[in-house]
């Protein structure tokens, strides 16, 4: 245990630049462990090269690329619209948002400054789908995060609600995971004709905050869990800002930054919601923030449904210019960048077109990829179990990291 104390002593108690450096210890004591690419807790095919001093993580290096499918390159050889299903497969847990980011970027190229490409009705349906997707993402994250902590049952509590929510999305677009729902100029399908659809969604949403309360009752009061999460994977406000961390991880460190507020897109400007933050800056804070975000997503969807029901929203769900076979003949010219608040962080999409049927470059700024880089900072000097907790708290999907 002498070695263990050495490592501890060399890790500054406060957050400063010293933490960015690899902790120097006598290398003879260290064990190198390859965690993954096949490992129950790496959330896919991530490989972690971990240097261990007993139970203490001295250094960790994430090695990615095992799920690289060169989606961005494929985009250059297909019609603009055909890339939408590929975005589904990047972050397959919140496919609606991937669609949204790409579609927003292309629409900047298509529509002039005074031409409205997307109707008001389509914008509402988009936000409805996106926020339901965010709810599903956070629910699934909570379940798998608890699996990482060794608690088996919370996953099924989370899936109980997620199944219902996915059922609504299935009625909307026919798919439960890879939705392929957004189109340039709107969405693929209008809301279902079924008159009970929106009332059913409303019943589910009215119930949802009490379900979040239930999770909190079960998990917040669990001393073992709170003991495991508090102080685990700490990231100071400065560190998250330095490393360009976005999403719930940023907000868990006390920065109230949300693109839906800071740079509103779609109809978010007209909606009333809060940006939850936490001051804990650790895994516990990230859990609390995501719970609060679930409630905020519910609020947003409720407002959207009210607006759809009360107001006779203008327009079709899909701009007729891009309906039917015309969508395949879309030609775009220029360069555009869109950014949206993805459940995992800031999702950016940079598209370049030269007026042909295919883009010449599509670049996706994936939140999982950007957030994963901070893992060594979070895990250094902590235990193996904390490394797993820190990794889980980032909320990565390897499809999104590797693309």
């Amino acid at each position: 245990m002498v070695g263990a104390r050495d490592v501890r002593d060399q890790i500054p108690a406060t957050f400063d630049a010293g933490r960015l450096k690899t902790v120097k210890v006598d290398d003879r004591h260290l064990m190198e462990l390859n965690m993954g690419p096949q490992h129950p807790s790496t959330h896919g095919v991530l490989r972690l090269k971990v240097k261990l001093d007993g139970e203490i993580v001295v250094d960790v290096e994430p090695i990615i690329g095992y799920l690289h499918r060169s989606s961005e390159k494929l985009a250059e050889n297909m019609n603009w619209v055909k890339f939408i299903p590929l975005t589904d497969r990047m972050d397959y847990l919140s496919a609606m948002h991937n669609n949204h980011g790409y579609v927003l970027a292309v629409e900047q190229l298509l529509g002039g400054p005074d031409e409205q490409v997307v109707s008001e009705r389509a914008e509402h349906i988009r936000v409805f789908a996106a926020e339901m997707s965010r709810l599903c993402n956070h629910l699934f994250w909570m379940g798998t995060f608890m699996l990482d902590m060794g608690a088996l049952t919370p996953l099924f509590y989370a899936l109980r609600e997620r199944e219902t929510a996915l059922g609504f999305l299935e009625e909307l677009c026919g798919a439960r995971l890879t939705f392929n729902y957004f189109r340039f100029g709107g969405v693929k399908f209008d809301l279902p004709d079924d008159p009970t659809y929106l009332p059913r969604v409303k019943t589910f949403l009215a119930d949802m905050p009490s379900k979040v309360d239930e999770y909190q009752r079960l998990l917040k009061r669990n001393d073992i869990l709170v003991g495991r999460l508090r102080g685990t994977g700490p990231l100071s406000r400065d560190e998250v800002l330095d490393w360009g961390i976005t999403g719930p991880m940023l907000r868990a460190s006390g920065v109230a930054h949300d693109l839906r507020k800071v740079a509103p897109y779609s109809i978010y400007k007209e909606l009333d919601f809060d940006v939850p933050t936490a001051t804990e800056s650790d895994c516990y804070g990230r859990l609390v923030v995501r719970w609060a975000e679930m409630v905020q997503s519910v609020r947003i969807v409720q407002q959207v449904i009210d607006r759809i029901e009360k107001r006779d929203l203008e327009g079709l769900h899909l701009n007729p210019d891009y309906a039917g076979g015309k969508i395949l003949r879309v030609k775009a010219k220029g360069e555009a960048y869109s950014r949206i608040e993805h459940p995992k962080g800031e999702y950016g999409c940079h598209v370049i077109g030269d007026g042909k049927l295919q883009p010449i470059r599509v670049k996706v700024r994936a939140p999982s990829f950007a957030n994963l880089q901070v893992l060594p900072i979070m895990a250094r000097g902590q235990k193996i179990a904390d490394l797993i907790a820190s990794l889980g708290s980032i909320d990565i999907v390897l499809g999104d990291v590797d693309r």
């Binding site: 129950p40 996953l155 109980r160 073992i224 797993i388």
Partner: protein
């Protein structure tokens, strides 16, 4: 089964005593082995069903009535699997580990009193025998950890050793308190001493300590650090496949019942019927197997609590459990031991 040797002497008159004793030993071993592994196998099914219900699912329900033969199907599957040995594994340690883990766990069952008349042996040092064997059992985990030539296994083995060292002492103190009251190490004496007053009443603290340390000793959640699926893949069992893995798995589940049976024996009155002073009917309504019924019922309820904990709690971290073991549980167990000793000496107990 009170005396298997004399029973065999009756059905085989004329055979020398040493032959009777040998037959009895072999027969007894086979019975213990069968019972333990059947319970372990059944518990894999029971656990899956309880786990499923806790998560609002059905669980396995296809093989046999309500899925009760699921464990047989699993066993068949595991037997038919290839027995993969890692290329650079330490052949002796790796191969021996599974047998060590199984053998010591099974033998430790011998002195457990199933009822007044049903037990495999009632040696005078029954509790000591159980504790000694359960202290050796982690040796198998360490051997597996070392012999597998796998870093996850090694970590699992080291954790098993650390776990064992830190929880063995409070466990001994908790059991020692009970022995102070009974004044006997024989398992049947401990149960008969509890007529009227189960030891959970005077030994509530000891009961809690025993339960927590028992969970840790058996390697169960929240202290399943030696396996720690989300961290160490499968801990010391990582490199085992086929029926070798099946044996380790069954042993894990039979340990659940073992810990429950020990808890029942030490604190919950063993095979004694409850409320028998007021309702004598409870003490004999099933004739000779009444004791067995109560023992299995109590141990089953304790097992349910173990499974409940398993499905509910997350895993503690290594340093957290060491802290709890050395700084809280050990002092409390010593306090309990000393307090019991004083009470026994002054005549309040025992």
């Amino acid at each position: 089964m009170a005396s298997l040797t004399s029973f065999i002497d009756q059905i085989l008159p004329g055979t020398p005593h040493w032959l009777d004793a040998t037959i009895a030993a072999v027969l007894g071993s086979v019975i213990v082995f069968t019972v333990v592994l059947t319970i372990g196998g059944l518990f894999t099914f029971v656990f899956r069903r309880i786990f499923a219900r806790m998560g609002n699912r059905s669980g396995p329900n296809r093989v046999g009535p309500n899925g009760w033969f699921q464990f047989l199907a699993d066993g068949l599957k595991l037997i038919s699997k290839e027995d993969v040995r890692p290329a650079r594994a330490d052949r002796l340690a790796w191969g021996l580990a599974a047998y060590v883990a199984v053998a010591f766990t099974v033998v430790a069952w011998a002195p457990i009193p199933w009822s007044e008349d049903i037990y495999f042996t009632n040696i005078g040092t029954g509790v000591l025998f159980i504790l000694a064997l359960s202290a050796v059992a982690p040796l198998g985990e360490m051997l597996a950890g070392w012999g597998s030539n796998n870093k996850y296994s090694l970590y699992g083995g080291i954790r098993a050793a650390a776990l064992d060292v830190s929880y063995e002492i409070p466990l001994l103190f908790a059991v020692g308190s009970v022995i102070l009251i009974t004044g006997s190490l024989a398992t049947q004496d401990i149960v008969t001493e509890q007529a009227g007053l189960w030891f959970i009443v005077p030994q509530l603290l000891g009961f809690v300590i025993f339960f927590i340390t028992g969970l840790a000793k058996a390697g169960l959640v929240p202290t399943d650090l030696a396996e720690a699926e989300s961290e160490l893949v499968a801990g010391f069992t990582t490199e085992y496949s086929g029926m070798r893995f099946g044996m380790l798995f069954v042993v894990l589940f039979s340990n659940v019942f073992f810990i429950s049976a020990l808890t029942t024996m030490l604190y919950l009155g063993g095979w004694q019927a409850p409320f028998v002073e007021w309702v004598p009917f409870l003490g004999g309504f099933l004739g000779p197997v009444t004791g067995l019924f109560w023992f299995v019922l109590k141990a089953g309820l304790v097992s349910f609590v173990v499974f409940w904990v398993w499905t509910t709690l997350p895993r503690v971290r290594v340093d957290q459990y060491l802290n709890v073991a050395w700084k809280i549980i050990l002092p409390l167990s010593i306090l309990n031991f000393v307090g019991t000793a004083v009470m026994v000496r002054t005549g309040v107990l025992g």
